[in-house]
Amino acid sequence: MTSPTIAPPELSEDELPDPPCSPHLIEELLRHLARSIKTHQLYLPNNPIYQRAIENLRAAFAPIWPHTPEIVLSITEADFRWFGRSVMHEANRSESVPWVFFKDGVRELTMMQGIEDDELVSLLGIMQRVRNAAPEEDDLLTLLWEQEFTRLKYRFVEINLDSQASFDASPEPPKERTLPIVEDIRAEEAAQPERKSGIVRMEDLDATLYFLDEKEIDYLRGEVAAEQSIDMPRNVLAILLDIFEAQDNEQVRDEICGIFESYMLNLLAGGAYGSVAYLLRETAQLIGRTAALTSVHKERLLALPTSLSDPAVLSQLLEALDQSEAIPEQAELDALFDQLRGGVLGTVLGWLKHAQKPELRTALERVAGRMASSNSAEMMKLIGSDDPSVAIEAMRRAGELKTAAAVAPLSKVLQLTNVELRLAAAQTLSEIASAGALRLLETALDDDDRDVRVAAVRALGTRGHRAALPSVEAVVQGKSVKGADLTEKMAYFEAYGALAREEGVAPLDKLLNGRNFLGRRATPEIRACAARALGIIGSGGALECLRRATGDRDPMVRSAINRAMRERT
């Protein structure tokens, strides 16, 4: 019911009371108010447009206060009226500020001096909330009530409540009569002189008994403070779980399963990830210990983590996380993902490259690491994922965890045409560095891609995998190396130095200081690489070779020699 207030009789301009200042000032103020309400909806507080709008609104109060300490606006469906004059008219309800107040019952609004300091922004926030509110959400009156303004007052009609509500009291006063009280007391005294119920004893009248001492006041303060720190969602979940366990009635359990299903979404939407984790953990335990659990209920409970683990659902969750203002605590995220199904790892890994927020990416990296370590089978599977980004992230985790079991799926990756994947596989094998991994890496020396070969040979050299020496030596001493770029050459020679050790001194010396049968020396790049390899060997013989070459005329070679000798000394 939106009953209109009784309209005041229309007065002519002459009959209206004199306002304390020009109505134009109030009109201007209300224009700024309407503009600020829109701005509040559209922009964040740190936006310059928002800040300017608020400044303008605040400034619009300034010329009014010297004339009056308060602005009293009466409200009709389409107007704000001030001293009987319309100071804002807006017939279009979707645009109308007066209508927002009027529809919820506010009929008069008084803004007092000082409202512009702190309370104005709160009012704008309320206006925004109430404009966007669904019908079942709080109306303007409730929001104003909760805010407890000190510089804003309002008069309203109660639309929701029955203003006719009254008592069913006796319409007539009690009839005149005489109560037999005197007789009753005498009879009581005669029958039982000792105390009866209701008769007062002086020891009961110790009033001080009922005043709280400091300790009791502290106790109550503590209780009130503790109340504010209760984790409400978790508390209520515990209640629901308790009811589920205690009540074996099927309908009751049906109802609670339904609550869990919808409430879990509410909790996720509200960012209460820890509570969702609690729900999933507790339901998992409950399934194990609850007597007479029907298969239907068991399936519904089991479906809770399963449904959340669905890639589409989980992607929404991750997207919401990426868009939320604050990232939940790592422990909450860990607890939640611990409860999800193994298949979730793929979704999380796939999301890592999409995450906009570095903090979220870091948090998800940790989550992924935890999940991968507790579910290596899933990780193995994901190494072969069709989604390259998932496969690469899975390989990264396998490398970090040095998962030897990953060698088999990695061998398949090395056969793929996608160079990025083969490179990641090589790097992962390098990190795993098991015998099997290094054996597999040897095959990567023949890879078509230079980066893969470089990664492989560096890894083999660094890990000292001597079994690879023949392959490396063949390249170093063969012709194929000549066509490689300096980086690849250098990688091979460094690996050769690391693997061949003393055996490599003579061949390297030949490359650095020797000449071929035509009397030609090796190219400067090869000589520089040989010098680097000798430096890595670092034995007396190797240093002697380097010393002999110090007079090389090529600056690149000299530089390599100097560096090699410097690093050894």
């Binding site: 409730t142 109660e158 639309i159 203003s163 005197v182 009922y210 109550l220 508390n235």
Partner: protein
């Protein structure tokens, strides 16, 4: 404050709804509390240090600053002490655990000096306050008027003209009448809404949550502004409407007790919603069981005992999209638990009982035991119920809360029918403001010494002395209204 400023024309279907006002006294409440705390500090410093001590000067400057600020906004500042309440202009300031000491000290100082009202004029200076607060604490002896007169003389002699003093007065009758009318409307609306909600649930419809919120807001405002009228209405323990009036009564008692605990307005609101909804689970209990007058079978008893957990499920069914009444759910579940967590329903997971649940448990137990309902033909007297709650640990009430509750409702809660040593009968109308007089409430005499019924009767303070220095009247007995066919609520409505 929800004082009505316009009333229905009382006519037919198109009467405009009543108009209420809110938000007007927030400023006075806020700054008034600061003002009283400043006066409290000033009272202490003038007692400890000489007037020109910097500490005294600083505290007085704060008092002056705050009084000036109030004068600027309110145009007048009148500090009035009435019973246990302090008013600034027409706004009653809230008493809670945080400001209890300061309020008590100021009320005591005013009373000792025979001052009930102090109007502060513009331009009060530090010296004025130093003189006034010093003299206030060195009141003359003698009757109230004499003490007030002596204080006025001394102020005049010291050329302090910044204060206009007056004797203690009761609440302005018009204001009290307005508050009473507002209380009646709030109570009636609350019962109506509770009835609608419970009936909606029974019929499988969605109840209107907005209405629940609105009535609780009304109750909170009422308790914060003038609780006596509303607490008086809890005597309306109507048999036919028990389920509904009980919920409203528990809400009123809980909010009033919460106020004593120093809960904020929003916290009181949460508590009020929880209290109003504490028995919502009963809407799922068949009426045949709920209203069964004779002994219940084991199965029926088990069904009734299920109402706390049924309440939780019901509240879930009623919840809005983004608005889950967590506290109401917790209270619905825990309100029949004892402080050691025994009681019903049983819980599996470890939990700590919420203070809100403890508050509602006390209010619930009190109202239930003092009401007449299907399986309780003879309600217990409020005094006996309080006694039982206090001395019987098996009831499982939080004893500190019981104590706080007793200080709220007094030895003889509002609505108790009592017999006086004059053989007059009376109904307790309000708790006595004097802390030492909990057993001496304000009562309404409803029969003379010969037993002749009076209506509406007269209000008397049982703390009043007679000429010979003894108490004029003393309660000797609590009586059963049924025995004398007295409908207590007739004297409150």
């Amino acid at each position: 404050m929800t004082m009505p400023t316009a009333q229905n024309a009382g006519s037919t279907s198109f009467a405009p709804p009543s108009v209420a006002e809110r938000g007007s006294d927030g400023f006075v409440r806020k700054i008034g509390r600061e003002f009283l705390l400043a006066i409290y500090g000033a009272l202490r410093t003038v007692k400890m240090y000489p007037p020109d001590n910097p500490v005294v000067q600083k505290t007085m400057q704060e008092v002056v600053r705050l009084s000036e600020e109030m004068l600027r906004n309110e145009r007048e500042v009148e500090l009035r002490v009435s019973g246990e309440f302090i008013f600034i202009n027409t706004t009653r300031l809230r008493l809670d655990l945080e400001n209890y000491a300061s309020f008590s000290r100021i009320i005591g100082a005013f009373k000792d000096a025979g001052v009930g009202l102090c109007r502060i004029r513009e331009g009060s200076a530090v010296r004025d306050w130093v003189v006034f607060l010093t003299l206030l604490q060195n009141a003359a002896v003698g009757d109230i008027d004499g003490r007030l007169y002596a204080l006025g003389e001394k102020l005049a002699a010291a050329k302090v003209m910044a204060f206009e003093l007056g004797p203690p007065t009761n609440l302005d009758e018009e204001l009290r009448q307005k508050a009473k009318e507002a209380a009646k409307r709030t109570y009636a609306q609350s019962v109506t809404v509770t009835k609608e909600v419970i009936n909606s649930v029974r019929m499988g419809r969605s109840p209107n949550i907005k209405k629940i919120k609105r009535v609780v807001q009304g109750i909170v405002d009422q308790i914060l502004n003038e609780e006596t009228s509303l607490i008086g209405l809890t005597t309306l323990r109507d048999y036919d409407e028990y389920t509904f009036t009980h919920s409203v009564n528990v809400c009123i008692f809980s909010v009033a007790l919460g106020r004593k605990l120093g809960l904020t307005r929003i916290q009181l609101y949460d508590l009020g919603v929880a209290a109003l909804m504490h028995d919502i689970g009963k809407a799922r209990v068949p009426l045949t069981i709920l209203n069964k007058p004779s002994g219940l079978s084991e199965e029926e008893w088990r069904t009734i005992c299920g109402h706390p957990w049924m309440g939780v499920l019901q509240l879930f069914a009623m919840r809005g999209q983004n608005d889950i009444p967590y506290r109401a759910m917790i209270v619905a579940f825990e309100h029949h638990k004892k402080t050691d967590l025994s009681g019903y329903p049983k819980h599996v997971r470890p939990r700590a009982m919420s203070i809100y649940s403890k508050v509602v448990a006390v209010a619930d137990a009190f109202d239930a035991a003092t009401s007449r309902r299907a399986y309780q033909n003879t309600p217990l007297s409020p005094a006996d119920v309080l006694q039982e709650m206090r001395i019987n640990p098996h009831r499982g009430m939080d004893q500190v809360l019981v104590k706080a509750f007793m200080s709220l409702v007094g030895h003889y809660p509002v609505g108790t029918l009592v017999v006086l040593d004059t053989f007059e009968m009376a109904i307790v109308n309000a708790v006595n403001a004097a802390p030492e007089a909990l057993a001496r409430p304000i009562v309404r005499l409803i029969s003379d010494e010969r037993g002749n019924l009076l209506f509406p009767g007269t209000i008397v303070d049982l703390n009043q002395m007679n000429d010979s220095g003894g108490y004029a009247r003393t309660i000797i007995k609590v009586a059963d209204p049924e025995r004398y066919a007295i409908r207590v609520s007739d004297y409150f409505v």
